[in-house]
Symmetry: C2
Subunit: 492 residues, 2 copies
């Protein structure tokens, strides 16, 4: 075996451990009895210790060096794999084991403290832990190094090639436009009756409809399934094993359905990655911002469109008699209804990104030291009021609402809005293809899926996110398609 081949084999061994951990994680969220929690944590940490030892061990490093010295016969894909391994390896090598252990310890306690703080809506219970988390994040940023500001280094953990400056510029331009769209959308929605879709939707029938729809957009149930959890997610347990979850509201079938469309978007990406490269960068999704583009594309651009419901509303009405009286136009109005929410995860399409912009700015200020930990609630409420015109009633509905910070996930939020921008740009570009356009007109999404398979899914991590978007759409990231989509849906 060449050093490159040995490296692939070692990477696959690490992926076997990682995907085994994913099986355990999936079971923990779906079916595991509560008493099993402590032992499950031991099983998981044993696996992750083994995977970590292989990924950061001498053998990997030495094979990588040897492979980098023998690149003559390597393909561009193989070169991309070396590039990604080198990047991950160097990033990992800069963080001492003691700091990894310290962060794990701090976040374990912080998660408990956050849950309690949110329950009591008492930020003081979380502030001390949060201070430690921000301090660790700064130390990591210093160890990793950064060009302009510490936030750069954190961002790269979620979005390869992204810079704080570029995102700040982008979000800065977006902000007044998003605020204006959101205002129009929410004002216009006041006259829409919120309750017309409320009814009795038996869960078995919701599952039936969700399965039919997921299948129709191309999700392969031979290599995947849908289960029920409190917090919906998509996880990959192997190259032909993608598990989605959703949650059911007996009074509103759209809750589970849009959840399934969102997670199936993630799932289609995972199912479309090159199977033989499972465990290699070329068989791995490239970034959160690209991943989220796939979920938002299927959820919002496809799943909330008129043509989609022209096809599916009659089928839904077969399953749910109370839909039989509802006209397509009223149904669309109901699912496009917009309302300001204090809570990000309850926000609709027209108001969602404002929640992200707020978090991005606060995180950035925390990292560069211009915002103190103790001032976070005040800063949050001030920013929220500026954006939404309302003051959060308490911190549980304000700065304590998300779990991300308690897990050390500073830098993560920005990728949600990047996902929305990427989704709109990809969806617009795909429609330059005539078969995609005529497919969409007939609610046949196979051509669209094939377009995404070829230009996004099949690429794995061989292109950086910005390269992928430019190659797939012909242009660098551009907010215009997303703004046009929002205006079209919410202001006309």
């Amino acid at each position: 075996m060449t050093p490159y081949e040995s490296l692939c084999s070692l990477a696959r061994e690490i992926a076997l451990l990682g995907s085994t951990a994913s099986v355990l994680g999936w079971d923990q969220e779906t079916f595991m009895p509560p008493g099993a929690l402590n032992y499950r944590a031991q099983q998981l940490s044993s696996l992750s210790a083994k995977a970590h030892a292989l990924a950061t061990g001498r053998r990997f490093a030495s094979l990588l060096e040897k492979a980098e010295a023998q690149t003559d016969s390597l393909t561009p894909t193989q070169m991309a794999n070396l590039r990604e391994w080198r990047y991950e390896r160097d990033r990992a090598a800069r963080i001492p084991t003691a700091l990894v252990a310290e962060e794990s310890d701090v976040t374990t306690h912080a998660k408990h403290a956050w849950a309690e703080a949110r329950k009591r809506s008492d930020y003081s219970l979380f502030a001390g832990h949060f201070a430690k988390i921000v301090q660790i994040a700064r130390r990591k940023a210093t160890l990793w190094g950064f060009k302009d500001e510490p936030f750069d280094a954190l961002l790269l953990g979620y979005e390869r090639g992204a810079t704080t400056r570029a995102i700040a510029e982008l979000f800065g331009k977006l902000k007044p436009k998003l605020v204006s769209i959101a205002k129009q959308a929410t004002e216009r929605s006041r006259s829409i009756h919120a309750g017309i879709l409320r009814g009795n939707y038996p869960i078995a029938k919701q599952q039936q409809l969700n399965q039919e729809i997921a299948e129709s957009i191309g999700f392969d149930f031979q290599s995947g399934r849908i289960d029920t959890t409190t917090h919906p997610f998509c996880t990959t347990l192997g190259p032909n094993d993608v598990r989605l979850t959703t949650r059911y509201d007996q009074a509103d079938f759209t809750s589970s359905l849009f959840g399934v469309l969102h997670e199936a978007g993630h799932g289609l990406y995972e199912q479309g990655l090159p199977n033989p490269d499972f465990g290699l960068p070329s068989g791995t999704a490239v970034s959160l911002g690209i991943h989220e583009s796939q979920s938002r594309l299927w959820e919002n651009h496809v799943g909330r469109s008129e043509v989609f419901w022209e096809k599916w509303l009659p089928r839904a009405a077969q399953l749910f008699p109370n839909l039989r009286k509802i006209e397509l136009a009223d149904f669309l109005q109901a699912i496009h209804r917009s309302e300001f929410s204090f809570i990000r995860v309850e926000a609709d399409e027209a108001t969602y990104d404002m929640h992200i912009l707020l978090r991005f700015e606060l995180e950035r200020s925390l990292l560069n030291g211009s915002l103190e930990i103790d001032s976070v609630p005040t800063a949050w409420n001030k920013a929220f009021t500026e954006l939404f015109g309302k003051n959060p009633p308490n911190d549980a509905n304000g700065c304590l609402q998300d779990i991300h910070w308690s897990m050390g996930g500073l830098g993560y939020f920005a990728t949600y809005t990047l996902g929305n921008l990427n989704a709109a740009q990809l969806f617009q570009a795909a429609q330059k293809d005539k078969s995609v356009t005529s497919g969409i007109k007939a609610a046949n999404y196979q051509p669209l899926l094939q377009w995404l398979r070829k230009r996004v899914h099949a690429k794995g991590s061989t292109l950086l996110p910005a390269e992928l978007i430019t190659e797939a759409t012909g242009n660098p990231l551009d907010p215009a398609p997303y703004l046009a989509h929002l205006r079209n849906r919410f202001t006309r």
Copy 2:
């Protein structure tokens, strides 16, 4: 750490890998999408290779030697752990790695060939594979060593301390008595209408009843659950995580219910093992014959008794209206109805052991060379006709019906009848305890469970099976209680 403590820690590490494999195995049988099969096999073999390397590696051997040299301060339980580790280690060490690999290869092919052979009812498709399996079994027996005959060495893999001679003597005595009981049972059953329990039993309501009953006998759903599979089983994924499965017949609720009682019997044993010793012999079930005693005790002695249904038939009738007209006496007659079956897994309590006796004798003859592979179908049919008075119509309903031989499981079957004998002897002995007896009279099985917890479950593998039975019941294994139970139920 002392060598004994280091050994415990290594054993727990091996158990973490083994129990992780159990999570993967459980998922494979219950929920895994079909496309995931190949990669799941890779995940499992990676885990078992790691566990095998630790269990047979130098570190384990050297710690074991050191621990055996420092036994002064060890408790009897700790001494028993050393005894079991030494036994397993020496047994494993005698089989060269090449033979393990050869057996794995042979059985992988044999399982496929067996499935095809059974489907076509064509023994010739399996015979060549079976010959290899028997040859490997003989080589293993020679490597392990044996006192009287090769079958001894195989038996010990399932039932510590058992000898072929003792079992042959026991089964020889049982045979005419079992045949006589089975004849009376089946003859008497001819007048019992087979169909009175047939009806429409919605699966959700069967699940409700099964859960209530499993809970009432003490199965802890905080540390376990019940799912659906084609072949019911019980598996342990961790010290507080015992998963049962059953299958549902919409027309007969007793099918899933007795399946749950059987598997819950296994599950109660697993849940009753000493939790802190998970992964050590003292926290592990001692043998198949003892395990099967727990499943058969709850399924047959408890679950098919009059007092049990005095309590549960009214509850079942609340859930299933068609039971409301059925008298307790008729219900009991129906669940005690006996009929000869060609298929072991469909056999009832009165005829089951004859299937085992037949297999035990054939296996023994194959191992000591007095029966040729090609003569198995003839020998099977001859023995079957002697026992049951009927000739199997074909090999699919004869010598090809069970998967065990294709997996190399020679010696396994005997433990089913040992389980029946152990169950009856334990159930009889438990009733010498007044609280157990008065509990049973009121269909309150907590005292019985406590009795079993103390005398069987809590022992783990610290006692050999024969010692456990003698200590728990005051007598060595004795077929009288089982025969009395069968006569009482089927001939009065």
